[in-house]
Symmetry: C2
Subunit: 438 residues, 2 copies
């Protein structure tokens, strides 16, 4: 049976262990919330200071050329491309996940409508797609953005449970919009299979990689996905509110709409012509002037993946990270179920490796918020997601970023969770005070 | 006749002179491009380092509560409100100017359509507004965003010259969309008069304050403007690509649409409910997770205005800044016209104070790009905007940020410009090489 000593040995034998030294982790903290906000890479502070003082302060406006600010969204995008099965030149880092989702869903809806018009010819009786299909427990911002676009385009947002998606995929669906790994449960969809099924009925597939980029293998190109967006501040460690990213399959390149037709997505932004001409390819998904300081921090987060690759130049670094993530989460699940038995924790994350991402979620009938607050007070930072009072239960989330979380961390985290539950210290008033952000 | 000695005396007597010490300005540089990218406040580097190391690195996810990240867009917005004639709670700092313009123009178009429907009742012959009206030389991103929304809403973007706006304002115009101070010429519109004229024909007025917030008096409330957006990285000194801001007149509060219905604009973001319910008031114009590092830098830029106010607690600091800006630009115009006469420079900025912002633009028949490159090489940083080959000539732009530009700067800038023109050094090949960003 696994004990602390085994966990320490696993850390010692972990070839990725040196990566932890690339991060600043506070004394006394076990950080299991990298799925919400990734930890700070040590290189970031100096690099951001350089961007502030040398590039902005000394270089001033000249840095758009001399410091390469102008193509930073593309250069950062190229680093992300390597993590999501895309090619250089296919990704830009820009705006937020929500804004990028608006762009791609708008484009996908128009492509779907145009395809139907082409097929229909003059026939009036060919059914027009009426739905955007998604998962009921998709992250709310995805659903909200989809609601807005459905309203604008006369479509209906159809929400189903994960096991109902396949049956709901008919030719009445214009776009299938899913988040690859669910933010509540950590369940992972089969991107290639669902995309193929969508394409078989003439539906486009839009994927949100917020909880998968940097955490699990993502193969956008081989999955034949149509559009993808994702987040810079979770597993990519780009800092609070880091710019997000957006990708379009090359088959749509130069044939997708950008509703947010800002000047930096123009074919020639510095020609200052009054008519919008979209830039070729993914560059058209740029919009306004990019937030250079935040982009610079994101770049440092991505540099850690290059460092990971450098540890084992001939190996598949994503496979190595994924193997460690699964070992960590397997261990955590086993330890919680063994050591915290009898306290009502129920695993809601699928056990099967192929069906989950890099987080572990437990439902708890009552007191979930307070339990997490008490656990954070002891230095184990996970987070809490309240159920909507209907079908979803309150959830304790534990994210495992294999870049900086170790096996001994998992051991101690469970030990503290056990103590919180056994002592019932979570019932203290201070752990039951609601905060602005949960 | 003004000489260097007079300019030095003016600096000595300038009550705002101490503010210059709040900025990092490189040795040997006279910076006249704060209308493109404001200079670095000295406090920014340490504050951003704190946000990176203490808030992100040590605080991690807890900083959403403990460091107040969650309401930073509102707190920064309140600081901006004080500069644009708005009230606390009416402004948020978020996204880019382009994205914010998309939000407000979408909302304005819907309000205009709804007003017509109300007036029309059952009558089919009441004309529906058909146009969004703007200025042909408005900043391109404004025109591009308007084109996208016009296409989506079946409207036409009508572009006229500045002197034609009044005549074009008929009840066929749904929305008048103008930039308060023109990015090329520095010409300033009369916001109150044009807004009143728009309202008289049932048209809404949307104002872009990119070149006016922090530089000239802006009175959104008393002007009765409907919507406004603006830029954080020009006269507000928020850093490259700093978040922009957005304002809505209180009469529209709770009755305006947010097409980019992201989760942070939800009435209860952390309830994670599947249905979008917009937050009351301006908070609904938040969308995705805010870029905290860039927002923190913007806050430091705004703190400089508080410092300016602290220099003269009982005075109108915007009036003081405006008076200095006009004195600087008057001086610069007079010096260029006297000392650079005969080189073909033609002032395109209106001379009349009420008709211009805080920049001075000169047209030059040929060689404008190279002249500016040669001038930058000598340490005087302005910038160049190419004409579109049709009605607009190439322009040399000189921005005067009264927070850190002095009278002696204006003197030396003109002296260097004179030397560049007289020596014809701008004809050298290195000054004629095109760069990515001009």
């Amino acid at each position: 049976m696994t004990n602390l000593n085994h966990c320490q040995t696993q850390d010692t034998q972990d070839p990725l262990r040196p990566l932890r030294e690339l991060f600043t982790l506070p004394e006394g903290v076990i950080y299991l919330d990298g799925n919400s906000l990734g930890a700070l890479p040590k290189a970031t502070a100096a690099r951001v200071a350089q961007a502030v003082q040398a590039e902005w302060g000394e270089g001033l406006i000249r840095s758009w050329n001399t410091a390469g600010w102008i193509d930073l969204p593309q250069r950062v995008g190229d680093q992300i491309a390597a993590l999501i099965g895309a090619q250089p030149g296919e990704v830009v880092a820009t705006d937020s996940t929500s804004v990028n989702l608006y762009k791609v869903l708008h484009a996908a809806i128009l492509i779907a409508a145009s395809a139907v018009n082409t097929r229909a010819g003059g026939l009036k009786d060919l059914k027009k797609p009426r739905f955007v299909l998604s998962e009921r427990s998709n992250f709310p911002t995805d659903l909200y953005i989809a609601q807005s676009l459905c309203q604008q385009h006369g479509l209906t947002l159809k929400l189903v449970e994960p096991h109902e998606i396949s049956a709901a995929l008919t030719d009445e669906v214009a776009v299938l919009m899913l988040t690859h790994v669910n933010y509540r449960t950590g369940a992972m969809h089969n991107m290639a299979a669902l995309t193929a099924q969508a394409h078989a009925v003439g539906t486009l597939a839009v994927w949100d990689l917020a909880h998968s980029a940097g955490a699990v293998r993502v193969d956008l190109t081989t999955s034949q996905a149509d559009f993808a967006v994702g987040c810079g501040y979770k597993y990519l460690n780009g800092g609070p509110g880091a710019p997000a990213f957006v990708w379009v399959h090359p088959r749509h390149a130069n044939a997708f709409e950008q509703p947010l037709s800002g000047w930096l997505g123009h074919a020639a932004p510095f020609a200052f012509t009054p008519d919008y001409q979209p830039a070729p390819g993914i560059a058209r998904y740029l919009c306004g002037t990019p937030p250079i300081l935040s982009l610079t921090a994101l770049q440092c987060g991505l540099d850690v993946f290059s460092a990971a690759q450098a540890l084992a130049p001939n190996q598949d670094v994503i496979a190595a990270l994924r193997a460690k993530s699964l070992a960590l989460t397997d261990l955590f699940i086993a330890l919680v179920e063994r050591r915290c038995a009898g306290h009502g924790l129920e695993l809601v994350t699928p056990r099967e490796h192929a069906l989950r991402g890099s987080q572990v979620s437990f439902a708890l009938e009552t007191g979930g918020y307070a339990v997490m607050q008490a656990l954070i007070h002891r230095g184990v930072i996970g987070d809490f997601r309240r159920g909507d009072g209907d079908t979803h239960r309150d959830i304790l989330r534990f994210g495992f970023t294999p870049l900086y979380v170790g096996f001994e961390d998992a051991w101690h985290a469970v030990e503290y969770l056990k103590q919180v539950l056994e002592s019932r210290e979570w019932q203290r008033p201070e752990f039951n005070q609601q905060q602005a952000v949960t």
